[in-house]
Symmetry: C2
Subunit: 308 residues, 2 copies
């Protein structure tokens, strides 16, 4: 049997890690030879989740073509967010909840995307359709992914399906959603011990009408915990702009209690962000009122503004 | 409620037409305001199918943005195979069984693709998952699509799932698969009354590593019915190469009784086809032994050879 590796995006978050583990569990139950791996370091939220449910972290890999010829992607599809050597392997399956871009295959494949808040909401359907039982641990991981991606159902990306899925999973995982959810989000939002590089860990790169755009996001309970270190943050962002040849680097600092964000923007195309939101950056900083979702409230509006 | 149009690819075939009708039926049953339309003339096989099951042909449209802002695609995703103004509308859903290429969205969407022989095999799952009943007419159309795309289960694209789906649909449609299937395929393979343009009707365009490639296919019971008119066929193909600036125009004439094909190739990149199959075109013509599937036996190998 051909071995498959399954993984989520670079700079992994809770959904990417938990979806890779859950997808591998589903496919193993169906007889596949598959292993969940990850493309980067775990963040503090995901570490909390794996510890809580006593799950093993997927193995860290740098490349995939040296091990396998076939891979499955979860929680992403865009090439620049995937393994560096993704073009050297065949993508046989994708389960995702993002836009489709910079993705191309030469053969038909299994592709399942739905505009829901979290990849594991789709995975739950796949477990049920295939009548595969979900273990307590995997249910806990899947629930954590939903809580993480929807900010405990507060994000505009959250759908009724995500809530229903979370409730079902909470029963199997045997946790109280609100209690566990706040504990988990706070574990992730504690930035006191983070290095500057770790503040910018959740960064994704996009190609927008030929422009190289990187968008990082962090969840906090007090934006000043990050803003106090702004000069260091901006220095690292600037270095990234130079090193990667970015046209824009936007850092979204999201307060999970008030559901607002502060944006820090570096790069020659900062004016596109100003046009998109009708704001003005002062010393690289501007408020992004009501913005909590990169996927729904940042990527589409910037894509459209760049396309103008 | 926002009205949605659903349609398949240009130069529609039986799967494209029947999938559009079936998808619209499914969504209407779920309360959507949706209409199936088509982007081109019906071929003789599809006309036979619609007559047989007394179904109305989807309305012919030239463009879609003048009517709606949201569309759903069935049986295709590549932009150049879709409505000419596809970039002016939002694609909210895709149900397909082809490779993904030249497709990009700015927002998350519903995307369901599986590597099966026919789009309606996937649609049958969606009817069942959503517990929507399938009428006798729609079952007949969905069955016809499977028979058409799999050449009555003879194509290498045919999977076990397609066979099982066809059997279930045949019960609802109340037809004998083999008897009805051969009658239907022969109705489509009768080229005696076809104009030269109609012989080349089932043509799809692909972008392969920057090259504009058009691949047409026709099913026949005797390849000589087409080869007898080769000079006219080649003249029209050459005109297409010039008019559209194609790098390659490959016409695959498939004998549905012997499951072999003859290729006719026009354009500056004919050598790529020769390299791909290890063949030599003589007077633009060469045998394609065992080739019956454009999707599985032509597009991937040409894509890979162009990428070298």
């Amino acid at each position: 049997m051909t071995k498959t590796l399954v993984f989520g995006h670079k700079n992994p978050d809770t959904d990417t890690i938990c979806s890779a583990i859950s997808y591998a569990e589903l496919k193993k139950a169906q007889g596949a030879d598959i292993e969940a791996v990850r493309l980067g370091e775990l963040n503090s939220e995901t570490t909390f989740v794996l510890d809580y449910f006593q799950a093993t972290a997927p193995r860290l890999v740098q490349t995939v073509a040296n091990e396998v010829s076939e891979v499955a992607l979860v929680d992403h599809n865009e090439r620049q967010q995937s393994a560096n050597d993704i073009d050297e392997v065949t993508v046989t399956a994708v389960v995702d909840h993002h836009r489709i871009a910079n993705f191309e295959t030469s053969d038909p494949l299994y592709y399942r995307a739905e505009p829901v808040g979290c990849t594991t909401t789709i995975l739950l359907k796949m477990f049920r359709e295939n009548e595969v039982e979900i273990s307590k641990t995997v249910a806990g991981l899947m629930l954590s992914a939903i809580i993480s991606d929807t900010l405990l159902f507060q994000s505009p990306t959250c759908t009724e399906e995500d809530k229903v899925a979370a409730e079902k999973l909470a029963v199997i995982a045997d946790v109280d959603i609100q209690t566990y959810g706040m504990e988990m989000l706070k574990a992730g939002a504690d930035v006191s011990k983070k290095t500057v590089a770790e503040l910018l860990l959740d960064a994704k790169e996009f190609n927008m009408n030929g422009n190289k755009v990187e968008i990082a996001q962090i969840n906090v309970v007090d934006v000043n915990d990050v803003l106090n270190r702004r000069s260091e943050v901006e220095a690292l962002m600037t270095q990234n702009v130079v090193d990667k040849g970015l046209d824009l680097y936007l850092f979204v600092i999201t307060n999970i209690l008030t559901n607002d964000s502060i944006g820090i923007s570096i790069g020659s195309k900062t004016s596109v962000v100003e046009e998109a939101y009708g704001i003005k950056f002062v010393e690289n900083q501007a408020p992004l009122k009501g913005v909590v979702s990169r996927k729904k409230q940042v990527v589409p509006i910037l894509t459209d503004t760049f396309a103008k």
